[in-house]
Symmetry: C2
Subunit: 426 residues, 2 copies
């Protein structure tokens, strides 16, 4: 792990951050032509192109009948997975659901003389959830992406996944996914965006995926809505040295094991503590099953920032705007008012990120790579949309017509002016 | 205007909608290389490239000192515009502000045994508002884009505009814009996204613009957040024949005069009424100052849909998901529960769109081209972001640790498992 001493030279922060930011830089140019072609063909040819791509990329011979995973298989998966995992999934589902219920929004109306104004809040009708196959095929992803949609009231949640496994299917069963299709990649995303003879067209696509999936989502933004533009994930730990070094080290590694490009960062005002954490990280790495991935992440991007005090620690944290922020200090709540930018804030020694990833209830789909400055955790608010409602009586109209005409005149829009004028004359 | 009779052949709706949708199809390929180059140069060279582009595209010799419009000029513009417009702008500002105050969201915390979970809601720190120059330089645009940001609590609102005029500057003064820069185009958008020596970097860019601006915003989505992907605007009127034909016609034209690509659509169950509306449209067109624009829009895209009854009218409206929907019927509230997709819903004969465009209070920046299926009117919710907050006591941790380990094991993430296990042993 690299150590950056900001106590004497705070300007080095930006240099290091610039380096760290590189891991998020997507070589879009390289893939874009391919993804554009896939999108274009799915749009024009529908199923025909879809099944061709499934054959080419996934090596599978699927058709209109076999691309959909029947509901019975979900139920079967649910029954066949081990009791311990099933129970944990049920509890996680219940807790996630309860937390997200709090995010619901209501329509409102306000009245004043001659005018009623309102905002009508409605769920999206149909959404698509992308669940990756391969090394990142996680049942927790299913729960975290589907539950906010169902809580919002979305009628139909379509899940696509290139490689279903019993855990993800069981999770889909638990949270009541409407339909599951065995398809992934940019072709799967495009099929959801335009609809094909077999895949229903959706209004929004959410969920993580590889570079092809991420790029397809970004290119199709506007045709459908998407959740966010996601990059490699990261954890940042603020520590005052009051928490055991091996706990801190384990938390750093729990991020590093995700991805070679994952970022694990520590900010502390205790130099000795920092050294012990680094030592513990390398010690633990030795026996880790995902050692190769975690080691690359730690060596390439792992960073300790030494700061003067916890106030500077918060400043640095805000500058980084991390996806996950752990506050491992004696009095973690004391720092909360100073934290402006972070996807999720884990307070205190008994709140390791892993608890939040799986079971506590808040969403684990979080803004990465500094986008916590402007993006939010996935939530019910991502699955609703609003319409303004306006009603004016004749009296209300007469109170406001002159001002409306004045503004229409200032903007040179005569028909706007006329649509008011003509009503005044009646 | 084209008349489509859906009473006998509803399938023709899709054909016509496909034709109408063409107007929103952006020839991205044509402009994308140019816009990408501009973005790349602004990112690398900052001010140097910025002032070069200002010279090339706007024909202006500006530098670090002259690109910013001093505050005194805003004040001066406010004082110098005519009293009637100034008063109308003040009243509009006040009403917009009051409506948007209702959209504010609060942080929340929930507690249960051993666990505190919360969502911390905070305003974005700095946002950029794009205000077009030329034919679309409207003071109402300034109010509608800035007010939701200031109500949300955004500290700094940076406005850029290639061609300031007294009305837009006065509007900027009224709603308390922080700084105004005279720059536009893709180079202006890129400057806001990356920051230059002179232009401050922002977290989000909102506001309408031409194809270069729209494309730059889309390409920079992820570097910053953006409001929405906007296309040409449209109005759809549901009429039962109870409202005067010339009123209906004026409302259709108030949309058509915006843009040759604007869409003006009427749905009615009264054939005679439809014919009279069409006649009134052509009659009014004759003397309209923006006749050329409005006529092209009406002739190319203007459409009357004849339906069986008002229930079918709502179905068609939902299919179109219009930006503006006027319900000109005897009992407009009766249809409200059937309307699923629309940016703004104007109920009743005394609520022409123009009132909503300027003065009523709800935002006039609305989702276009069918995106009302998933996008919302611009609002306070576009200028805030959320962070999850999680805190667990030792007892709370012990209640949940086994389930967390079970899920970490199922997903094969050993360091996640370890970060829990290690805390159990203490």
């Amino acid at each position: 792990m690299h150590i950056e001493d900001l106590r004497t030279s705070a300007w080095r922060l930006n240099q290091r951050l610039k380096y760290i930011a590189q891991r998020g830089q997507i070589l879009e140019g390289e893939y874009e032509a391919t993804v554009r072609e896939i999108i274009g063909r799915i749009k024009e040819e529908g199923d025909k192109a879809l099944f061709e791509y499934i054959k080419r990329f996934d090596g599978l011979e699927l058709d209109q009948d076999t691309v959909e995973i029947p509901y019975e298989e979900l139920e079967k998966a649910y029954e066949e997975i081990d009791e311990e995992t099933r129970q944990a999934l049920e509890i996680a589902h219940d807790r996630i659901r309860r937390f997200h219920e709090r995010q619901k929004e209501n329509s409102f109306f306000v009245e004043e003389e001659g005018v009623i104004l309102g905002m009508k809040v409605q769920p999206l009708e149909r959404v698509g959830v992308y669940v990756p196959g391969g090394k990142a095929a996680y049942p927790s992803t299913v729960l975290m992406n589907v539950v906010p949609a169902t809580v919002a009231g979305v009628e139909e949640v379509i899940m696509i996944t290139p490689k279903p496994n019993p855990y993800t299917l069981a999770a889909a069963f638990i949270c009541g996914v409407s339909r599951v299709f065995q398809v992934g990649g940019a072709h799967g995303v495009a099929a959801l965006a335009f609809g094909t003879e077999t895949i229903p067209k959706v209004d929004k696509i959410v969920g993580p995926g590889n570079i092809y999936v991420a790029l397809a989502k970004k290119l199709l933004y506007g045709v459908v809505d998407i959740d966010m533009v996601a990059g490699p994930s990261e954890i940042l730990i603020i520590s005052d040295g009051s928490v055991r070094e091996d706990w801190v080290a384990a938390d750093l590694l729990s991020q590093a094991e995700h991805d070679e490009l994952a970022g694990a960062f520590l900010i502390t005002d205790k130099e000795e503590h920092a050294k012990k954490v680094v030592k513990a990280v390398y010690e633990m790495l030795k026996n880790l099953s995902r050692k190769e991935i975690a080691q690359k992440s730690i060596e390439k991007f792992g960073t300790v920032f030494l700061v003067e005090d916890l106030y500077q620690a918060c400043q640095v944290a805000n500058h980084i705007a991390p996806e996950h922020l752990e506050v491992l200090t004696e009095e973690p709540f004391k720092l909360l008012p100073y934290i402006k930018h972070a996807g999720a804030i884990f307070l205190g020694r008994y709140t390791p990120e892993a608890l939040g990833d799986y079971i506590l209830g808040p969403n684990h789909t979080l803004p990465t790579g500094g986008t916590a400055r402007f993006f939010s955790p996935l939530g019910v608010y991502h699955f609703i949309k609003r319409s303004s409602v306006l009603y004016v009586t004749e009296e209300g109209f007469r109170d406001l017509s002159d001002h409306t005409k004045a503004l229409a005149k200032a903007e040179g829009l005569e028909a706007h002016w006329l649509s008011v004028k003509i009503r005044e004359e009646s």
